[in-house]
Amino acid sequence: MQWETVIGLEIHVQLQTKSKIFSGASTAYGAAPNTQACEVSIALPGVLPVMNTEAARLAVKFGLAIGAEINQRSVFARKNYFYPDLPKGYQISQFEIPIVGKGEVEIEMDGKRRKIGVTRAHLEEDAGKSLHENFDKETGIDLNRAGTPLLEIVSEPDMRSAEEAVAYLRKIHSIVRYLGISDGNMQEGSFRCDANVSVRPVGQSEFGTRAELKNINSFRFVEKAIRIEVDRQIDLLEDGGEVVQETRLYDSDKNETRSMRSKEEAHDYRYFPDPDLPPMILDDAFIADVKQSLPELPHERKERFIDSFSLGVQESDQLTQDKALADFFEEVNTTSAAGPRIACNWILGELSASLNNEDLEITQSKISAPQMATLLDRIHDKTISGKLAKEVFAAMWQGEGDADSVIEKRGLKQITDSGEIEAIVDQVLADASDQVQQYKDGNQKVIGFFVGQIMKISQGKANPQQVNEILRKKLD
């Protein structure tokens, strides 16, 4: 039987505020345990939550960016469950009326564009962290993270493959980074994803029973976890079994998903409006103000790159997905006279390869944008050839200094003095009378041999264009 995969994602984005959503405790990452856990974070009796304006602003910013309905009246609700990293016994979230309603984003798969629906995005508080490893009979609780503002972005079940799910996840990641509403760091848990996965026979309109995959903390794992879960469900159904609706944990070491039975009963959350928090009303001026602060978004920037720099669709897409990379490109392009074409080639070529090799982000690049611009200028003003520029790039990457000092130190400056080049050409031709004869007999291919010899003698420094001109002049 042919099966169709149906995927919906729930993405938790930590909003970049200084203080927590309902208290004045700091949200900075990496502090000593519980030093940023105030009386509200640890839920001492009698404390009251007070809403952070900035969290609302950032949520609205996201909503406007994806063209979603904004609910100017939204309601906070209690989601009740018991777990030690949630000391109140409930999480403050939004249920019936979230701050952001229906919207959509566009993804591109193999050159085809598809719209993925966003059902809603609601504000809520993060829980603390449980540390199981360090103690024998106890679990350690760190409540620094408790109360950090989260925006939970819920998609429609619109994705039909693991690749599409990853494309959508990357799109949302790119949007939140562009908007500056989150640092989007998956390792530190500020961008987390749960996937609802089901399969159904091709052609069937109702959905199959779904499993919810938790704990997927990288783009690569999202794809792997969904693939392995889809295989599991298909095997199960083809063997005459049934998929059970449950929460499953993805284990990246074993590349398998397994049932989390402990959380099953907890799914009865008994939501109700939080009596401590009246409805949040945002007036038109608030929304208009946020609208004004919207930056250029990834798809807009991509179109601009295509239009103003004559770059291709694919390369513009690659450049603009990560805001920091697009910023790097624009900085190089405005600093250097070499033009956008060569800047794009070098950034997506040598630079991206070096970053990938060492698993670095563009923000950790060992060559800064101004340094890159100078290197490209030296190609542009013919100080070095494109080929030698790769050597200079590698040296810069290894920390040997900027382009000019590497060129100077290694003596890589291109020879453009035609007298000097002519002397080398004469020497090569004198030493290769056989090949000269072959050329005269009509074998054009030996020209490559001459160029090779000239480059060898000049250590690659002779300007290739001049070499060609002088050669032809001498031979013809």
């Binding site: 345990p33 030093t35 009386e39 016994g89 944990l249 928090l277 009246p278």
Partner: protein, 95 residues
């Protein structure tokens, strides 16, 4: 609408309330009466009045995004049942 004693056991467990099994019929009868009262209110025609989510007709007060809380870990942990290395300790929780 009538609440069964099984439902009493279930919601008591969800709320981590210890109930006397012998009294579950009694609770069930009481809660049924409350639910019937709600049911009765549901019959009232209120036209197109928007449901309220809060008894007061007030909007949420918003505060500026500023760190105002100080580190009081030592004080808080001095009254905690168990704490070590800055962490609050609870009986082992296994996923």
């Amino acid at each position: 609408m009538s609440i069964t004693s099984d439902q009493i056991t279930h919601i008591a467990r969800l709320a981590r309330l210890k109930t006397d099994p012998e009294k579950s019929e009694y609770y069930a009868a009481q809660l049924t009466r409350i639910m019937n009262l709600v049911e009765q209110m549901n019959q009232i025609d209120i036209g197109d009045t928007e449901p309220m989510s809060h008894p007061q007709d007030a909007g949420l007060r918003l505060r500026a995004d500023a760190v105002t809380a100080e580190d009081q870990r030592e004080d808080f942990q001095s009254i905690a049942p168990n704490a070590k290395d800055g962490l609050y300790l609870v009986p082992k929780v296994i996923e």
